[in-house]
Subunit: 229 residues, 4 copies
C-alpha cells in the first residue's frame, strides 16, 4: 500500500556476532510492589519462587538461553555467542523475553496474595566479548546479592531487636562485613546458616533446569556443570 | 566493586529528540494462541476487549502516551516529540511498555477461557520525524485492519457456506474489495453493517481514554479530538 | 571464501529517513596548526579561502548537499531529508565527505605556506527532524562565529595595544558585547566595519555555489535564495 | 546560548569495550583514479608506496594502532581491545583516521604524476570480539590480495600476449589457481617470483613500522613479532 514506506523508519539494531548476550530483567519499582503486597522482609520465598518459576519457563521456551541467574527482583539470561536467536535483533530479543517472563510471573503469582496491580519489569541487553568478562558479570550480580542480603538481614535483625529503621540505618552506615556478621552473631544469628537461596541467589543451567544456589565466583562451577567453557 | 566495570558494556541507545515515538506491541504467534483457546473467527470480542483494556491501562500508567491504536493482536502507542520519557532510552521504553501491557493482558484475560500458556508480545520502537508521517503510519495500520478484516469476514462466510478452507482461499485469491463485498452481499451480509470495532480497530485518545472506532485516515479526526496538531 | 563470515560483523547504521542530515567537519587541533604555520590572528584569509574552496568543491562533488556553512576551522554540510545519499549509511557518508574535504583542503593549500604536516579534520553526522531545528543549528554555528570573532578581535586589539595575552584575557573576562565594542571603538576600530566574512562566516547555496557572508538568523535568507523551505 | 539544545541531537555511538577495532579505508572509485593517472597495470609501485607511506604515518600519529595491513587501494588499521582511543567513539575514530590517511596520501603523492583531482577514501569501523576472528579478518584481506593479484597478473599477461580484454576475461572465467599458474608459466612467468609486495600485500607492526610482505595466515607471524597474542 501507499503507506507502507513508513516501515523503512524501523531501525532494529543487530547484536555483534560471537559475543555473549546477557538479557537482564528487573522489577520496576519493586520496593513499592513488595510493600503493597506486604511481602516478608528482607526475603519473601513466595516472591523468589515466582521469579524462579518464571525464569525456568523462560529458559524452556527460548532454547538459545544456556544459563540464568536471579536474585532479588532481577534475572539475567545468558545466550551463547554463536546463537542466531531472532537473528540477534535487539528489540525482538529484549521485548519477547521480558514479555514472556512477565507473563509467567503473573501466571505463577501465588493465589493467596491478591495482585493489587500488574507488575512490570524493565529489560536490557548487553554483549560481552569473552567468557572471562561474562564470568565477571555473573560474579558482579552475585556479589550484589551477597552485599544486599547481608545488609538487609542485619538491618531487619536490628529493627526486630527494637531499633527504628533510622537507627538501624545509622548503626550500619559504613560498617564492614565482619561487623555485620558480629552484630548478627550477638543476636544469635549465624549468617552462614541463612538459606543459600538468600545468600547466593539462584542459578539455572541448561539442560537440567534445576535451581542451584551455589557460588559462580569460581570457574569450578562451570567445570562441574560442563558448560560454557 | 572490582566487577563493576562490566556495566560499561551497556549501550542503551537514545531516541532522536523531537520525533514522534511509536511503540508497537504484537502478539507472538497469535494464530496459534487463538486456535489453542478456541477463539471465534475471525474476530473474538473477548480477546479484543482484553487488548483494549490492557492498552487503556498502559495509556493511564505512562502519561507520555498521547494516543493508541489497536487492531487484531497489535497495539501502537504514540509518544509526543517533546517527551523525555525515560530520557528517550530505547531499551527502557520498549521493555517497560511491553512488560506492563503483557501484565495487563494476562490480568484482564477472561476467567471463562482458561489460559493454556502465558501469552507473549514482541515490541518495536520507531521514530517518525513529522506529524504527516506519523499520520501515514496510523493510516497504514488502519488500512491493514480493513484489508485483513474484509478478507477474513468473506473467507469465513464462504467456509460457513460450505466451502473448504482451501476452496475459500482459492476463491478469494486476487479479488478486489468490490468482489469481496459482492460475495458477502450474496450471503446477505452487508459489510458496512459489520461492527465498527472490527472494521476500524480502536483508537484511544488522551485524556478521555474512551474506545473510539473511527477513521483516522482524515485529518479531521485529529481536529475533532483537538490533539497532536 | 571461508573467511568471508567476518563481513557479518559490519554494522553500518542508517540515518533516520526524512530528517535533515548535517555533516560537520572541524579541524583537529587547529590552534596548534595555525600557530605552526604562523597564520594571522585572529583571522587568516588564506586559511579561510582554502576552507571555502574545499567546501565549494565538496558541494560540487556530492550533489545531495544543498547548503554549506563555514567559519573558523569548521564547515557544516546540509543534506535534504528525502536524499538517499549512500542509502543514508552513516559511516559511508561521514568518511567519504571528510576524506574528500581534507583532500581538497590539502590540494588547495597556498603554495607559499609550506605544509609542516598533514592537516586532519574530524567529522560528525547529526539528524534534525524539522527545518526549524536545522535553522536553529545554523543560527547556533553563526552565533558561535560572532561570539568568537568579537572576542578574538578585541583580544588581539588589546595585545597589539601593549597588553600581555594574560592581561588581555583578564580584561575581557565576563564582559558583554557592548563593552567589547566600546574597547574596540576606543582603539578606533568599528566592529561593524570588520570584513563580513569574519563576522558572519560563509554560506554556500546550491546551485549558485557563490560565497555569501550573510545573516542566516532570519528566515528571509532562505526566502531570498528560494531554498529548503 | 538558546540554540545550544541542537547539540543534544548528536548520537555518537561507542564501540563495544574489549573488542578488536578494525578501521579499513578504501579508495573511492580507484578503478577510475588509476586509469586517469595512467598507473601501471595491475600494480603500480608508486601508488602502493604512497599508500604504505600514508599508512606508516597513520600508525605513528595514532599510537593506539598496533598493526596495519594494506593491499590494492585499501588499508586496515587494528586497535587493541583495551584501547580507549577517543573513548571508543565511532564517528571520531572513523573520521579522524580517514582524514589523516587521506591527507598523508595527498602530501606523499609523487610529484611526477600530477594529481588530476583530489583522491577520496571511504572508511568503516568493525569490532571483532576475539583474536581468532581478527586473525580471520586479516587472512580474508590477504586472501583477497592473492586472488585478485593472481587474476590480474594472468589477465594482463594474456593481454600483453595479444588477447583483447574481453578474450582474456573469457579465458580466465572459472579457472582455478592451478590453471592460472599454468597460463603464466607458458608465458615464462613464474608467479612465485613475482614481487612479494604484490602477492602478499604489506604489514606494518608496532613499534618497528617497517613494511613486511609476509604471510599473516599463520599464527607464527604473530609469534615472531611478539604481538597481539
Ligand atoms: N520485602 C521484600 N522486598 C524485596 C524482595 N525482593 C526484592 N525486594 C525489594 C528490595 C528492593 O527495594 C527492591 C529491588 O531493588 P531495585 O534496585 O530493583 O529497586 P526498585 O525495583 O524499587 O526500583 P527500579 O524500578 O528497579 O529502579 O525490591 C523480597 O523478597 N521481599
Ligand atoms: N480467531 C481469531 N484470531 C485472531 C483474532 N485476533 C487476531 N487473530 C489472529 C489472526 C492472525 O492469524 C494473527 C495475527 O497476525 P500476525 O501477523 O500477528 O501473526 P502471528 O501473531 O501468528 O505471528 P507473529 O508472531 O506476530 O509473527 O492472530 C481473533 O479475535 N480471533
Ligand atoms: N590564527 C588563526 N587561528 C585560527 C584561524 N581559524 C581558526 N583558528 C584557530 C582558532 C582556534 O584556536 C581553533 C579552532 O577552535 P577549535 O575549538 O576547533 O579548537 P582546535 O581545532 O584547536 O581543537 P579540536 O581538535 O577541534 O578540539 O583554530 C585563523 O584564521 N587564524
Ligand atoms: N592500475 C592499477 N589499478 C589499481 C592499483 N591498485 C588498485 N587499483 C585498482 C584496481 C581496482 O579496480 C580498484 C580497487 O578495487 P575496488 O573494489 O576498491 O574498486 P573501486 O575503488 O573502483 O570502487 P569503490 O569505490 O571502492 O567501490 O583499484 C594499481 O596499483 N594499479
Ligand atoms: O511483523 P513484521 O512483518 O513487521 O516483521 P517482524 O515482526 O520484524 O518479523 P517477524 O514478524 O517475522 O518476526
Ligand atoms: O531506571 P534506573 O535508574 O534504574 O536506570 P538503570 O539503567 O536501570 O540503572 P541501574 O542499572 O542502576 O538499575
Ligand atoms: O566494498 P564492499 O563490498 O565492502 O561494499 P561497501 O563498501 O559497503 O559498498 P560499496 O563498495 O558498494 O560502496
Ligand atoms: O574532541 P572534542 O573534545 O572536541 O569533542 P567533541 O565531541 O568534538 O566536542 P565539541 O562538539 O565541543 O567540539
Ligand atoms: Mg534499574
Ligand atoms: Mg527493580
Ligand atoms: Mg533490582
Ligand atoms: Mg512481526
Ligand atoms: Mg502477531
Ligand atoms: Mg499482528
Ligand atoms: Mg570538537
Ligand atoms: Mg578544531
Ligand atoms: Mg572549531
Ligand atoms: Mg566498498
Ligand atoms: Mg576502492
Ligand atoms: Mg578496494
Amino acid at each position: 500500500s501507499r503507506y507502507e514506506y513508513v516501515k523503512n523508519f524501523e531501525q532494529d539494531l543487530t547484536t555483534l556476532p560471537q559475543t555473549w548476550i546477557v538479557i537482564r530483567v528487573d522489577g520496576q519499582a519493586f520496593t513499592k510492589f513488595c510493600e503493597t503486597h506486604h511481602l516478608e522482609k528482607p526475603n519473601d520465598l513466595r516472591c523468589l519462587n515466582t521469579m524462579n518459576k518464571a525464569a525456568q519457563m523462560t529458559c524452556l521456551k527460548f532454547t538459545d538461553i544456556v544459563l540464568a541467574y536471579g536474585q532479588s527482583d532481577e534475572y539475567s539470561f545468558v545466550i551463547s555467542p554463536n546463537s542466531s536467536f531472532f537473528n540477534r535483533r535487539q528489540q525482538k530479543i529484549i521485548s519477547t523475553v521480558v514479555s514472556y517472563f512477565t507473563s509467567c510471573f503473573v501466571v505463577n503469582w501465588p493465589n493467596d496474595i491478591p495482585l493489587q496491580y500488574p507488575p512490570t519489569f524493565d529489560c536490557r541487553l548487553v554483549c560481552y566479548p569473552s567468557f572471562e568478562i561474562l564470568h565477571d558479570y555473573l560474579r558482579w550480580r552475585q556479589a550484589d546479592c551477597h552485599i544486599n542480603n547481608l545488609y538487609n538481614t542485619t538491618f531487619w535483625a536490628l529493627v526486630k531487636g527494637g531499633l527504628t529503621e533510622r537507627e538501624a540505618h545509622n548503626t550500619l552506615k559504613g560498617t564492614t562485613s565482619a561487623v555485620k556478621n558480629q552484630i548478627l552473631f550477638e543476636r544469635s544469628i549465624n549468617y552462614n546458616n541463612e538459606p543459600e537461596i538468600y545468600k547466593k541467589g539462584t542459578v539455572i543451567v541448561k539442560p537440567y533446569l534445576e535451581f542451584l544456589h551455589e557460588d559462580i565466583f569460581h570457574r569450578n562451577f562451570f567445570m562441574t556443570y560442563n558448560i560454557l567453557v
